[in-house]
Every structure is written in structure tokens, then in C-alpha cells.
Subunit: 212 residues, 2 copies
């Protein structure tokens, strides 16, 4: 186990906030296809050196499943946090470890959702790939978070439910905690996280050097 994390950067969509409200407004089974397509095209554009805009990709791909893509996308500011988010953030606060969000989307809906859920006092900032112009899993967004927080890269922990995000963080020199809540198993092609847990609370405990 490496040294404990001095700060954490939290992925947002699916890691902190459930997409169930969007899923409920789409045909059965459409949500996972939609989200995989948004990331597929965002990553393809990242491969070619472009700066994709999450909102544009999200709207375009929603149009395949609904006559009201704008209305469905508006749910992005109203998503509910998973039940393990508050206790995990409280543990970080109690340990004196600052936390920021770090998303491939925009910061504004994230700020709105934290306020709506009454969680805004538990994080120190809302970072976005918009700040650096390239998406995760390129290293720049992870490095930006470390610089913003003023901690060495190898003492900043990325926390996510997505294997590709863990992979990018590890390649960028960060610590990483992977929560198995969404994917169940981590793709073998991806770098291993420093900590794995079934809930965000277990992941935070591991990253702080406490009980697993």
C-alpha cells in the first residue's frame, strides 16, 4: 500500500450521482447504450486531439431515444446521489482530506446537484475537463486536479466506478480507488487501483489507510 491520500478527486456521473432519473425518461435499456456512445465518441475525439463537448454529444445521442433530448438532459442538474456518497464525504471531512469533483462534463450541473442534495459543504471545488481542454483519461485533467489542490500527484487519489478512469489516473501518476458498484469486475486491460471497495465508504477508508 502506498502512502495515504492527502486529497481526493471524485468522478461524478454514476460514481456520485445515479443516472436513474434519466433512465426513467428513456426506453428500457437505453441509458447504458446512450452513455457508452457518449463516452465512445468523446474518447474517439480525444484520440484525434479534439476537445469534445459532453453536452453536445449527450444531446445528439439522446435524440436516438427521445423526442425531448433537452428535457432529458436537464435531469443532469437534478440527479440523486448514491446513498454511500454522504458518509464517504463525511469521512473525508472528518479526516481533514479535501475533496473535489473531476468530470468529463461541465461543472455547473455538478454544483447544482451538490447544492440540491445539501452536500455542498463537503467538497472544496468542482473541476472539469473544460478547465484544460482535454478529456480524461488523458493525464492533463488529473494533473490539473493535483495542481489545483496543491498536493503531489502521487498523494492525490482519483475515485471512480469506471475502469477507464482508474486506468487514466494510475497512468497519470495518481493513486486510484475503484468502487465496484457499477461494473462489478474491472477490465483486465486496465491498470489496477490501489484500493477497491463495494461502496465509496470502503474505498475512502482504504485510501485513508484505515479499515477496509
Amino acid at each position: 500500500m502506498p502512502l495515504p491520500a492527502l486529497a481526493v478527486a471524485l468522478d461524478v456521473n454514476e460514481t456520485l450521482f445515479s443516472l436513474d432519473r434519466m433512465a426513467a425518461r428513456l426506453p428500457p435499456g437505453a441509458l447504458p447504450t446512450w452513455f457508452a456512445r457518449v463516452l465512445r465518441d468523446g474518447f474517439a475525439l480525444t484520440v484525434t486531439g479534439d476537445a469534445p463537448r459532453f453536452r453536445d454529444l449527450a444531446l445528439t445521442h439522446l435524440a436516438a431515444f427521445t423526442d425531448d433530448p433537452e428535457g432529458v438532459l436537464a435531469e443532469f442538474g437534478r440527479l440523486d446521489p448514491h446513498p454511500d456518497v454522504r458518509p464517504a464525504l463525511e469521512r473525508l471531512r472528518d479526516a481533514g482530506v479535501p475533496a473535489v469533483t473531476l468530470t468529463n462534463g461541465s461543472s455547473d450541473p455538478v454544483r447544482a446537484m451538490f447544492a440540491g442534495a445539501g452536500l455542498q459543504d463537503l467538497v472544496q471545488g468542482y473541476l472539469s475537463v473544460d478547465d484544460v481542454g482535454v478529456w480524461k483519461p488523458r493525464p492533463e485533467p488529473y494533473h490539473h486536479a493535483a495542481a489545483h489542490l496543491g498536493v503531489p500527484r502521487d498523494r492525490l487519489a482519483l475515485i471512480a466506478v469506471h475502469g477507464w478512469d482508474v486506468h487514466g489516473a494510475k497512468r497519470a501518476g495518481l493513486l486510484a480507488g475503484w468502487c465496484s458498484r457499477l461494473e462489478g469486475a474491472l477490465l483486465t486491460q486496465y491498470e489496477r487501483p490501489d484500493v477497491t471497495g463495494d461502496t465509496l465508504v470502503e474505498v475512502v477508508d482504504g485510501l485513508l489507510g484505515g479499515p477496509r
Copy 2:
């Protein structure tokens, strides 16, 4: 309109061969999610400079939908060509324009499918990203195809039903023909193709400078 294509490189999955045989062995709606996830993770690994293996990603993600991922994946050597494939390839042959396949997967199942469909005399080779170690839409696979065929990059046309492939080809300096059969509309974030058609025949006609 630029100068006509001297050679073409054809994407394989969904462009030439239908994935319906795989879809029939998965739950309703699973196929698009599966394929988007495979590309999502392949592109994420391409962003971080890795060389993903299509087969590994395909198997892992099939396991979310079937107890027999190996069996379903074996369909990849038995897929049926879309009905516009033979006439499009015959037009290329009649025009004296060589054609190769260029896939993010392996060449072996492609060779098997061409033989199974009796199309093997209509292409000059089966290229794969395995030849260069990185996936499309990075430029290397497209450049490899031009070198293999001995034609200038700007006289080689990539033909695909996927916007990300058209985008990568254009960024790599190739011509590109996009067939709207799968996606219907091209993502506005992607580079425009030189030719668009509802069928591969229309795309080929356009790339050869003939009637649309």
C-alpha cells in the same frame, strides 16, 4: 470534389457485415450497448497509448449479457454481409480500383467471412490495426493502408458507417465515404466525409467520380 479514389479501405463490422447473428444470441437491445462499450474501452486505452485487443474487450463485455461469450463471439467469423456489399465491391473491381479491409479487430475472422460469403476474389487484402499496434481513429492504421496499397494518402478512401472512422481518416489525410445505413446522421463534431450515401454502392459511385 477532390480527385477520385485510386484505392479504398473498407471498415468491417457493421460497415460490411451485419452483427444481427450476434444480436440474436443476446437479450433484446444488448448488442448496441455491447458494441459501444467495446469501442469505448478500446478508445480509452488508445488515449493512454495502449494497444487494446478487440477480442479481449469483446469477450469481457459479452459476459455481461450471456453465459456463453465464447460461443457468441464465434459468430464473428460467420456474420452475413449487407446486401449492398457485393455490388459495391463489384463496381470497384470493374473500375480497376483495389480494395482492402481495415478493422480494429483481427484479420482472421474477416478472411473467413469473405470466404464464407464467396466475396474473397473482390478484395486484395485484409488489414488490421494489429499490423501497427494502435487502433483507429489514430492516423497510423490509415497510413499503413495507403503504404500497403502503394497509393498517396489523399487518393485512398476510407469507407465506413461510423462517424468516428470517417473523422479519423480525414484527419489522417485520406478521402472518406460515409454510408448512413447505420447511424442515419453524422455527429456534427466529426469531420465531413467527401462522399455520403445511403448505401455502399452510392458511396463507391461518389468516390469513383461517377453518378451519385
